[in-house]
Symmetry: C2
Subunit: 90 residues, 2 copies
């Protein structure tokens, strides 16, 4: 079992109202020194078996057709370390 | 200028209807071999100046209070390579 992460972010030239809202909130709350905020999506896929080149190509197709809208979003696919209990630290 | 990425994911014990919907769609579209899908958020902060320990602690507070809901979500903060044109590959 391997974990594949797909990050989907709005393209740089696309307005990002969610990121803008967060950025505005930072300023109001007194967190200075942040020039820009962009908000996107993160998908974690638990994939059965080993990750072959073929499998990865399939996941890229998936990321392009189902997980992102390539007109307005970029995506990145990467393999994470084998699933452990502390996948995300707090 | 440095880029700090904050990943926010639903805690493992929390139901994730978005991830479930994606997982169901995978099956219907014929992408087999995926055991589970979780969907979360990814924030990219462009932070001015150097990232000191103090600054990072501030960003962690921010992630905990503004970017995530610690009751139902875990977050992870990490520093990415200096901002380049091809931050996200396609």
């Amino acid at each position: 079992m391997a974990r594949v992460v797909v990050d989907v972010m709005p393209k740089p030239e696309i307005l990002d109202p969610q990121g803008k809202a967060v950025h505005g909130a930072l300023d109001r709350l007194g967190f200075g020194g942040v020039a820009d905020v962009r908000q996107g999506k993160r998908f974690e896929l638990e994939v059965e078996g080993d990750i072959t080149e073929e499998r990865l190509a399939e996941i890229r197709t998936l990321a392009e057709t189902l997980l992102s809208n390539p007109v307005i979003e970029d995506f990145a696919v990467r393999i994470e370390e084998p699933v452990s209990e502390d996948g995300l630290g707090a």
